[in-house]
Amino acid sequence: MTVINLRQMKRNQTGIITSVKAQGEMGRRIRDMGIVPGKEITIQGRAPLYDPVALRIMGFTLTLRNNEADYIQVEVE
């Protein structure tokens, strides 16, 4: 079990969110979509230029830019 940054996760890798550091508007939008500690996410893929990233959470697909993903820590196997 290690905690890594969401940006470093590989395709199809699954993990549990441990913390979301973003504040203000960005933080709000991220949390509104269900990115809160304790939720499981799976990386679904990345755009052709490796940014943004698409991930699966609570049964739907969400996209985030890499610099937004930087605020999110994830615990992986």
């Binding site: 504040q23 509104d32 269900g34 052709p48």
Partner: protein, 735 residues
């Protein structure tokens, strides 16, 4: 008495579908006061009663960050609908309930329309509706909005529920926040701070969430109490950052999701399969957003959209133009010559005809875009392109507006500006709106065609590629410039849902398309009528004085008097298309020459002409003489006018009136013209003020004339600077 109900929910949950199902799509569409967020209202008559229904914009949350959220919240608070029907997507329940919880926190009467039950079932999701209802304490009605299943039960439930007062939902947000909230609640109640509008505890919550709207309202109302609440908020913020490495805002969101989780965990929801297993949508995405195939397919889709919009609309555009030229022909025959006739034909009919001519184009464009949007592909395009557009302060979704406007030469900025509606982030949207007019729209092409043929023969393709590149590079750089100056601000987060692919319904597409087209016709139409009369007046008045008129008249009579009588009768009796004898042709062309000179003199003397002459004092820097200036001023009406006005202005002058030279050949022979001037003129045409139809659309879409005026002023200044640069540098190189 009709009962007011509001439809609210996440984007894509099916609000509009249910709205159309309930109202039969008999609706009024408008904008919310002061903002360009669509407001839809309709009436539903049913066994259960008569309902006044409003379709609120889709939001994920009720904070006041986006325009949609502010609009939705203000409506609920100010208009107090009898019931909020919160539409939730059953196949995506957990996230959808996040908004429901916030409605319940506000203590407004709410019931859940559990939509998309068909989708949930297909994915093996089972929901215990009664249990959900019992645990949340609000009615829950399962339904399928697409087929109308469950709508009668919903209405019956609404009627049953309206007289029951709702109490705000109390959730624990953790010890620290709960305690601070208690303290705040006391202060708020004691001072009756905003309690006429909002529940006390909710106001406290908003202070922890740093809700800009409430903070401002509070400071306005009662500075002292507001100050106290701010202090409590700040204290808690410091405390939580120090001890828990978190902050109240984050904690509140966590706890809301925690509450939802605790409800769902009590056997409310069961998944037959792993809910993150790949759906059909994900399989499609493996191809459509594939690193190599994705971009290729996207180019194909854009090309198809383009083809669809501009090729298939050509026929109906032709009909509309035909209709208006028929009307203008009839008017021409019916009215006596004079100012009134000229105003009706050149001012009103040409002006309105110009606007209506765009209607089929706009309809086809919206139909195409609605398909791409409703199917879910638009979100994928934004996903794939975001990295590129972000560099320039734009958003992945900007691509659509650029392509439509002429990113592939030959589009039109009017639908392009309107296509920017698909952008949800305000700053990026504004930057997109202001830069799409730089694309090479179909009306600029005749200008290029004329100049290239005259000055760069045989290089058509090369020059077109160069011009396309210049317009893209220019637009993106200007976007970057705007985003770092007048529209400065952080990039709006790209936190976006990729909705599952769905096949759009015909009804949905039609409603979407028609609504937007109708708005264009109605609003743009009236303003444009006024402006086109104004432009007509500028090119007509003050007209020629009697002396000059008499001079032209006497020159005409001089010709007719000397011509043999049989030639004159031949001209009078001949059919329009009939071949005339050489003598008769000589007479008609001499007469036409004088007519032409007269209209040139009139144009020169008109306000537009005077402007052209005045501008010559600076425009010579870019190599433009006064005739070019008039043409460019006329181009503000529509870019095609540049060519026709140049035609009028250059049809005579030093050149022999009988010459059969084309306009291009005539330009090539004129002193002062050369490849450098032509290129400078093309540069100017790319960048200068958008045509006024576009300007009107910009003002409508931004909700302010300020930005419309900005685009006229800024673009013209930029165009002038660039064309002077081109001309001066070009002249140095050529000489």
């Amino acid at each position: 008495m009709s009962i007011a109900i509001a439809l609210a929910g996440n984007p894509n949950a099916g609000k509009t579908t249910l709205f159309n199902e309930l109202t039969g799509a008999r609706q009024q569409v408008g904008n919310y006061p002061g903002v360009t967020v669509e407001k839809k209202q309709g009436t539903c008559v049913s066994e259960a009663g008569t309902f006044e229904i409003i379709d609120l914009p889709g939001t994920y949350s009720l904070t006041a960050y986006s325009l949609e959220e502010v609009v939705a919240r203000d409506y609920l608070v100010n208009e107090k609908p009898a019931m909020v029907v919160n539409i939730v997507d059953a196949s995506n329940l957990e996230r959808n309930l996040y908004l429901s919880v916030q409605f319940m926190e506000m203590g407004i009467p709410v019931c859940l329309a559990l939509n998309m039950m068909d989708v949930a079932q297909k994915r093996g999701i089972e929901i215990d509706v009664d249990k959900l209802s019992a645990l949340l304490g609000i009615p829950v009605i399962p339904m399928v909005a697409r087929t109308g299943k469950g709508k009668n039960e919903l209405l019956a439930q609404v009627v049953k529920g309206i007289d029951k007062p709702a109490a705000p939902l109390l959730i624990s947000y953790g010890q620290d926040i709960d305690k601070a909230l208690d303290e705040m609640e006391k202060i708020i109640t004691a001072n009756q701070f905003l309690t006429d509008i909002y529940p006390a505890r909710w106001v406290g919550l908003k202070y922890f969430e740093n809700d800009a709207q409430i903070l401002e309202l509070g400071a306005d109302r009662d500075k002292e109490t507001a100050g106290k609440l701010m202090d409590i908020g700040e204290k808690l913020h410091r405390h939580m950052s120090a001890t828990l490495d978190t902050h109240p805002e984050g904690m509140i969101a966590d706890q809301r999701y925690g509450f939802i989780n605790s409800v769902l965990k009590q056997n409310v929801i069961r998944f037959a399969h792993d809910r993150n297993r790949l759906q059909r949508s994900d399989q499609i995405d493996k191809v459509l957003t594939n690193r190599f195939l994705g971009p290729l397919i996207m180019v194909g889709v854009l090309a198809a959209l383009y083809q669809f919009t501009f090729t298939y609309s050509a026929l109906p555009v032709g009909w509309v133009e035909g209709l208006f030229s028929w009307i203008s022909g009839v008017t021409d025959a019916a009215l006596p010559d004079g100012l009134l006739k000229s105003m009706i034909i050149s001012g009103i009919i040409d002006g309105v005809g110009g606007v209506m001519g765009f209607v089929p184009l706009i309809m086809f464009m919206f139909l195409g875009i609605s398909f791409i949007e409703d199917s879910g592909y638009l979100a994928r395009m934004a996903f794939m392109l975001d990295r590129v557009f972000r560099i320039f302060g734009l958003h992945g979704s900007s691509v659509m507006a650029f392509i439509i406007s002429g990113g592939i030469a030959g589009g039109c900025a009017v639908p392009g500006v309107m296509a920017a509606r698909t952008l949800k982030s305000p700053r990026e949207r504004l930057a997109t709106l202001l830069t799409v007019p730089f694309m090479n729209c179909g009306a600029k092409l005749p200008v290029y065609a004329l100049l290239v043929a005259a000055f760069f023969p045989g290089k058509q393709a090369t020059i077109m590629v160069i011009l396309t590149l210049i317009s893209w590079v220019g637009a993106l750089l200007v976007a970057k410039l705007l985003r770092s100056t007048v529209i400065r601000g952080e990039a709006t987060p790209f936190v976006m849902e990729l909705p599952p692919y769905r096949f759009p319904t015909l009804k949905g597409l039609w409603i979407h398309t028609w609504e937007r087209t109708w708005q264009y016709m109605k609003k743009a139409g009236t303003v444009i009528l006024g402006i086109s009369i104004l432009i007509w007046a500028m090119m007509t008045f003050p007209g020629l004085d009697d002396k000059t008129k008499a001079q032209f008249e006497s020159r005409r009579t001089a010709i007719t008097d000397t011509a043999p009588a049989e030639v004159l009768t031949e001209i009078e009796t001949a059919d329009k298309d009939a071949e005339l004898s050489p003598e008769a042709r000589e007479v008609t062309s001499a007469l036409a020459g004088i007519d032409g000179q007269e209209s040139l003199t009139r144009l020169e003397n008109s306000f537009a002409g005077r402007i052209g002459k005045t501008l010559e004092k600076v425009s010579y820097l870019a190599g433009f003489d006064w005739r070019t200036n008039i043409a460019l001023v006329g181009g503000f009406a529509a870019k095609e006018v540049v060519v026709s006005t140049l035609g009028t202005a250059y049809s005579l002058g030093d050149v022999d009136p009988e010459s059969t030279d084309s306009l291009g050949e005539r330009l090539a022979k004129s002193p002062g013209w050369g490849p450098v001037t032509a290129f400078a003129l093309m540069i100017f045409t790319i960048f200068y003020a958008p045509c006024f139809v576009t300007v009107v659309c910009i003002s409508r879409e931004t909700g302010s004339w300020k930005w419309a005026a900005f685009s006229v002023g800024f673009n013209t200044a930029l165009a002038f600077a660039l064309s002077v640069l081109t001309y001066q540098v070009g002249s140095l190189i050529v000489n």
